[in-house]
């Protein structure tokens, strides 16, 4: 990669914590964010568990009422990252607004506001639909809400690629910086669709775990008794800038985005290609762009949603790219967070970057009986240490409809 791209700030609001540090601490010790749903609307659903945010967003009331929940979560996480990078809201910062962009991945955007306002229209008529209904529901609202709060004038982007959305947002941020279109990008993603409609939709596809009596044991990547994913919500964001820009202002650096690999399965609207061809293409491209050999990869944060077929295919793909003798420690953090859909890529990129920085791979919990012959080394049930020295990792995100984004992170340029 011609221009080095580094991470200088992090923020998150997730099922494990209301900010990035508490989320990371909870990940390391194997905390589950999955809970029983207590809403009345969960009554008739076959799946009555989900992973809601651990801490409710706390925005000023008038601002909050003009944002769908997804924007509230995205703004919360993005502003935490912004502050973490050393910037302030509403003041002069060491960044020219015309050189600052936002990229926010989301699977669907303001679904709850869309459904809610349609319900109001049906029950109470046209004149009761909120005047804000459109800006509430539009998928670019999270990016716009972030951008207007930090003065981002270089562009607002909303990549949509289902479960790969926020990995794609990070890849896009790196592209923007390398093309010289901006010096700083606030990038990440989020999703907030814990709603009876979404539960019904995914449920009708038989995609969700039904382990209602044991919520914290329900998300079980690679376990023989896995039965689907747990729906989560949340947002995670990074401040990403060129190495030159970061060093010039003395910013702390969490890690380097060494390469991105994008591909598509061209196979099915829902199922991953069981040959793993598309997944392997993405991972290989990430390594090629990073100019890193497969043997240097010491850690993989897998997509690993705990679907019966998906986990097997991904294990095969990882082996196919990294080799049967790979030393890479693999983990599936959806075992703890559930599946954040459009926010998953960013959530798991946070876990990957922190794993390299702290040299600790968070565990894949609930792995009581692993599938046989997976051929990969999984950090089962307890965190695993990573060795000293240079470290490189891959974070995989594979979306419904076939888009795949693999990001290669390293601990190069990390400041203490």
């Amino acid at each position: 990669m011609s221009r080095t791209v580094v991470i200088t700030g992090m923020g998150a609001t997730t099922p494990l914590g209301g900010d990035a540090p508490s989320t990371w601490q909870a990940l390391k010790v194997g905390t589950s964010g999955v809970q029983a749903l207590t809403h009345d609307w969960a009554e008739g659903l076959p799946t009555k568990i989900a992973a809601p945010c651990a801490v409710e967003p706390d925005l000023p009331r008038v601002e909050a009422r003009r944002m769908d929940r997804v924007s509230q979560l995205a703004v919360t996480a993005a502003l935490e990252a912004w502050g973490d990078a050393g910037f302030a809201v509403g003041e002069d910062n060491d960044v020219d607004g015309e050189r600052l962009a936002v990229s926010c991945g989301t699977g669907i955007g303001g679904l709850q506001s869309l459904i809610g306002n349609w319900d109001v229209q049906k029950e109470r008529g046209v004149r009761r639909v909120s005047p804000y209904a459109i800006p509430l529901l539009m998928a670019n609202a999270p990016a716009s809400n972030i951008g207007l709060r930090i003065g981002a004038m270089a562009g607002l982007h909303t990549p949509v690629s289902a479960c790969a959305s926020s990995n794609e947002a990070l890849a896009q941020a790196a592209d923007i910086l390398r093309l010289g279109r901006a010096d700083v990008v606030v990038a990440g993603g989020g999703e907030a669709v814990i709603h009876p409609f979404t539960m019904a939709g995914f449920g009708q596809m038989m995609a969700l775990s039904r382990r209602n009596d044991e919520p914290q044991r329900a998300s079980r990547p690679w376990d023989v008794d896995r039965d689907g994913f747990v729906l989560g919500e949340g947002a995670a964001f990074f401040v990403i800038e060129t190495l030159e820009h970061a060093q010039a202002r003395g910013a702390k650096i969490y890690g380097t985005i060494a390469g991105a690999g994008l591909s598509a399965d061209s196979h099915d609207m829902v199922q991953p290609d069981p040959s793993g061809r598309g997944q392997m293409l993405a991972m290989r491209r990430a390594l090629a762009e990073a100019e890193i050999d497969a043997s240097s990869i010491k850690h993989v944060n897998a997509h690993a949603t705990a679907t019966p077929q998906g986990d097997i295919t991904e294990a095969k793909s990882i082996r196919g790219v990294l080799g049967d003798g790979t030393e890479a420690v693999v983990t599936g953090t959806k075992s703890m967070t559930g599946h954040l859909l459009g926010g998953a890529g960013a959530m798991e990129s946070l876990a990957t970057v922190m794993a390299l920085k702290d040299r600790t791979v968070p565990p894949t919990i609930n792995l009581e009986n692993p599938e046989s012959d997976l051929g990969i080394d999984i950090a089962a049930n307890t965190a695993r240490d990573l060795p000293a020295g240079d470290l490189a990792a891959i974070n995989n995100s594979f979306g419904f409809g076939g888009p795949n984004v693999a990001l290669c992170f390293t601990n190069e340029n990390v400041t203490d």
């Binding site: 000023p60 009331r61 008038v62 009422r65 004149r127 009761r128 909120s130 005047p131 804000y132």
Partner: protein, 81 residues
Amino acid sequence: MATTEEIRSSLAEIVNEVCNVPVEDVQMDKSFVDDLDADSLAMNEIIYAAEDKFGVEIPDEESKNLKTVGDAVAYIENHQG
């Protein structure tokens, strides 16, 4: 039938909810746009909430003439059922 002050007070609660303006600031002589920071979308929210609260209809051709709190209170008072 609500009194003038009761209408103003209920309207003040609506404006507070929509614009976060303190209720005591929502006085009869105040302009929604200039004094109370209500943009066009906020005005629509206020109008629709007032329709609900007071059981009156405020069609668009009328609502655009309601510039001050006093205008709105007078309209509501005159159209109460």
